[in-house]
């Protein structure tokens, strides 16, 4: 580790080798995926709806099982995990969803504290009383996304962007090594989308956290990510720097429907 610090040798965080994923209903969602993501990268996965983006991301924390091939995440062979091992493994990986998945009828801090639930002692689980350290960690996470002053307010009184930040704080409180996000800005307006994307960027840079996100909006992906992965019909058809993505590349990823995709986004007003 010390050695790698001096030479800045890259550490592999996620490594897919010949991964296939077939759903029980025989849908082949991923086909022969080979992919290496290093620590501290900011990667965006783009592609048409149904291309397999969510499946790709959800295999990483074993929300879905892979069918064949091997997937190593932070030194763990994900496919071999069982029962309790899966839950322990997931604690290291943060995940953000399109629908913020918060308990809206309770306070912000209680939502963030949920990330400590798996490590509570039995009586704390029964009573639901959290320790002072946990509370401080939760508040610190809220401070990192800039909504500390909302800590004791009920979630249903926050805007969509603020709610996504609560979800982000909940994930940060987990102190993960990898941050996964499945369409994090799909239900936000342009202005709040930008704020949330800025948060992701800052977390990536300040905490050197690996960020992998699915995104519907090409411009946003190109603006924020260092690296773009294009998925088409379950296969990776582009993998490279964001600067090198040309219109031809996009055209291929989106099967020539890039005009429609942009048009649709223009109508939604969903650009940053």
């Amino acid at each position: 580790m010390v050695f790698s610090f001096f030479t800045r040798k890259a550490i592999d965080m996620i490594e897919f080798t010949n991964v296939d994923k077939v759903y029980p209903n025989k849908v082949k969602a991923l086909e022969n995926i080979n992919l290496k993501i290093e620590k501290g990268e900011f990667v965006a996965v783009i592609g048409l709806s149904g291309a397999g983006k969510s499946t790709l991301i959800r295999c990483i924390n074993r929300m879905h099982d892979i069918t064949s091939g091997s997937l190593v995440v932070d030194g763990t062979n994900v496919g071999k995990l069982k029962g309790k091992e899966i839950r322990n493994f997931r604690k290291k990986i943060g995940m953000i969803f399109q629908s913020f998945n918060l308990i809206t009828r309770t306070t912000v801090i209680k939502n963030v504290l949920v990330s400590f639930v798996p490590q509570l002692s039995f009586w704390r689980k029964m009573t639901g009383i959290f320790s002072k350290e946990h509370k401080l960690q939760a508040l610190t996470a809220l401070d990192q996304v800039g909504i500390l002053e909302k800590a004791y307010i009920r979630v249903d009184q926050l805007s969509g962007g603020q709610q996504q930040r609560v979800a982000l704080a909940r994930t940060l409180a987990q102190n993960p090594t990898i941050l996964l996000a499945d369409e994090p800005i799909a239900s936000l307006d342009p202005v709040t989308s930008k704020q949330v994307m800025d948060d992701f960027k800052r977390i990536n840079q300040e905490m050197d956290m690996t960020v992998l996100l699915n995104i519907h909006h090409v411009e946003v992906a190109l603006e924020y990510a260092d690296r773009i992965i294009g998925v088409r019909e379950g296969q990776i058809v582009y993998d490279g720097s964001a600067n090198e993505v040309t219109d031809e590349v996009l055209d291929y990823i989106y099967k020539g429907k890039i005009g429609e995709v942009k048009q649709e986004m223009y109508k939604e007003g969903a650009y940053v």
Binding site: R90, R105, V117, P118, G128, Q157, A167
Partner: protein, 268 residues
């Protein structure tokens, strides 16, 4: 003028139904005039009406503010206690019934039969249960508690089921990704959502139960009802006035409190 014409000629689309209902009601009403027995009005009625009004205007204040076991205040507290304990007991009993009548939890026939049973429980008037429980537990407030608990089950179970079916389960996805077990998901994902709703349902039912408890005394099931009947039968109208004033004020206060609390619980 335009707005007026529009209103004048505006034909509500539901017109035909309104006419049908009105005609049916009118017919039934005329029929009912023959069934209702109007001959029973007695001469002394007006005198009594006057006395009741006088009694309400000049209540027996000592009796109203009396905290001993014979006074209005004590009886009102007893009524509250009956309604409160009955609601809590009813809520606890309603939870298993709620699960037994949720068709996504138990087999369809079981759910159907449970629902039918709950509807039947609800149809029977509370006084009937009161009279039945008097045979079981004798006269007194304990009987009132049992009655209130039983009549609350049906409505509480139904509202609980609705709340459970309305649950937002998207939090499960996140909790899975955090590494939570099923128990943890229920404890920290579902219970916090349900507590607020169940509390507000309970408060709503408590408000209704207070009204029920105030009449259960008529069958000897404790609370303010029995002294009301005694006072009336003995023509002690000032006492009747005290009881009615106490009862109305109590019910109004509880109604205001219940509306306030439920608003707070639901809207935060």
């Amino acid at each position: 003028m335009n707005a007026i014409e529009k209103q004048l000629y505006a034909k509500p689309s539901k017109n035909s139904y309104i006419y049908v209902i009105s005609a049916v009601l009118l017919g039934l009403m005329i029929w009912s005039l023959f069934v209702i027995d109007f001959g029973s009005m007695e001469e002394s009625g007006w005198a009594i009406a006057k006395n009741i009004l006088l009694g309400i205007v000049t209540p027996d204040l000592d009796f109203l503010l009396d905290f001993t076991t014979q006074g209005v205040m004590y009886l009102l507290v007893e009524t509250i206690a009956i309604a409160f304990l009955g609601t809590i007991l009813g809520a606890m009993l309603a939870i298993p019934f709620a699960f037994l009548s949720a068709s996504n939890v138990v087999p369809k026939p079981v759910a159907f039969i449970t629902r039918l049973l709950l509807i039947f429980i609800r149809t029977v008037p509370s006084l009937v249960y009161g009279l039945m429980f008097v045979r079981v537990a004798g006269q007194g407030p304990f009987t009132g508690v049992l009655t209130i608990a039983l009549i609350s089950i049906g409505m509480l179970a139904k509202l609980f089921v609705d709340a459970i079916e309305d649950l937002d389960t998207s939090i499960f996805e996140s909790m899975t990704s955090i590494g939570c077990t099923t128990f943890e998901k229920i404890r920290f994902g579902i219970v916090p959502q349900l507590i607020a709703i169940f509390l507000s349902i309970g408060i709503y039912r408590f408000d209704m139960n207070l009204r029920e408890a105030s009449i259960l005394g008529l069958v000897g099931a404790g609370g303010i009802g029995a002294p009301l009947i005694f006072a009336m039968n003995a023509y002690r109208w000032n006492e009747v006035g005290s009881i009615l004033i106490g009862l109305v004020i109590l019910i109004l206060i509880v109604e205001l409190w219940s509306n306030y609390m439920r608003n707070k619980l639901v809207r935060g």
